[in-house]
Symmetry: C2
Subunit: 244 residues, 2 copies
């Protein structure tokens, strides 16, 4: 039974964390921006139609523009042109630019338990941030979150495929049985991690529909309601692993 | 005297390459976009004034928006609003969005010698791409360049400081005396590399003013006119290094 506070090298894990909607709120800022945008265009077009057009534009642009507030701003402008048949005014375009800037300068709002869980886990394990999105934007959010010093490495990647994770583990010399990934996306944080034989912890952002997906996939991973439950789960991994 | 084709581990170098305006053209696309933009606004405003406003807007936005065609597009739209006192039309805004899209879909135009030099060097050394900019955009350009298979690692970083380079070398276990960085920017590719004690090769994009900078800084680095001269320079490093 280990008694020292710091774990031996053998029982140390590398724990990867997704960022947006796993450690801090992200989706709500897009929703708020979308609401402001619909209000702005409401004299030109029905809000429901604006919402439909914006969603369509975003999907069409994702391969070109990628993720983040700049992509969203460009998609809002494109949508505004379509929704008003080009009759959008200069000052309305200016308001759209401002909606975009407000998204970037919004406070980074950590989830409850996020800081405490990370502080506790960083004592015994190596923490990595593994996130998609715009480089500048994620870097800015990490800095403003106050969590940066808790991460040994930060990886902002183009996509989170099984290959992406394998390349990262190879890069840092981490065996798959020592890697745990924590995130709110089955597609990005859970399934590719399970695929390479590592451990995934799913913490859904939207609790209602998440469970259905989990069952549908038929893969083995852990699911928690919030980050406050993570340290206890991880402690269980350590007891079960060989060498401790 | 080594006779085998492949170098021994000891004489293998890790050679980092900047991408934009080192391996392929980049600046010209911004200039072309800027020209189209000025023509588009010429019925509203003097092109010289548009150019001045755009440059001012870009500088003001760089910390917020970062680099790349999305940032440039947003800055063009902001400039158009300022340059026309908000009297820009919807169809003109649409044209600006199209100027931006054209930048992203433009062919990746490799510099002469780029492919041949990299193919030759990849035989004996480990090549890395180390570039700033938008993740999605650089990833797309690398894929379309056809050079991706020649690089062992690709690093798209937020900024190229001495610390950035040191973190990368530590990550991959590369001693500084085995690292060579090649690029067109004294600020990003040369001076921080010299600062950590590694070797830098400067290949200016604009030959006329580059030499003055080089002298002003008083640091020791190599300067070439084009990538075709790189393999011979690197061969010289190997002869001079200990252990061969």
């Amino acid at each position: 039974m280990p008694t020292a506070k710091s774990k031996s090298t053998e029982s140390r894990l590398v724990i990867g964390f997704d960022a947006d909607d796993t450690l801090w709120h992200n989706e709500i800022y897009y929703r708020q921006a979308g609401e402001k945008f619909k209000r702005l265009l409401s004299t030109h077009q029905d809000p429901a139609e604006v919402e439909r057009l914006l969603a369509e534009t975003e999907v069409r642009n994702i391969d070109w523009y990628g993720y983040g507030f700049k992509s969203y701003t460009l998609s809002m402008i494109e949508t505004a042109l379509a929704a008003t048949a080009g009759r959008i005014s200069g000052s309305e375009i200016d308001s759209i630019l401002q909606i975009g800037r407000d998204m970037l300068s919004a406070d980074v709002l950590l989830f409850e338990h996020a800081r405490a869980a990370l502080v506790q886990l960083a004592d015994d394990h190596e923490l990595m941030l593994i996130t998609k999105g715009d480089l500048l934007e994620q870097d800015s959010k990490l800095r403003r979150s106050g969590l940066a010093p808790l991460f040994r490495h930060t990886e902002i990647v183009r996509e989170k495929s099984a290959q992406t994770y394998q390349v990262l583990l190879d890069r840092y010399g981490v065996p798959t049985n020592r890697f745990v990934m924590v995130g709110n996306s089955l597609k990005s944080d859970v399934l590719p991690v399970v695929e390479i034989g590592a451990t995934a912890v799913y913490i859904p952002y939207e609790h209602t529909w998440a469970h259905e997906y989990a069952e549908a996939q038929g893969r083995t991973y852990h699911e928690l309601e919030h980050l406050g439950q993570l340290p206890a789960l991880v402690a269980g991994f350590e007891v079960a692993s060989p060498g401790t």
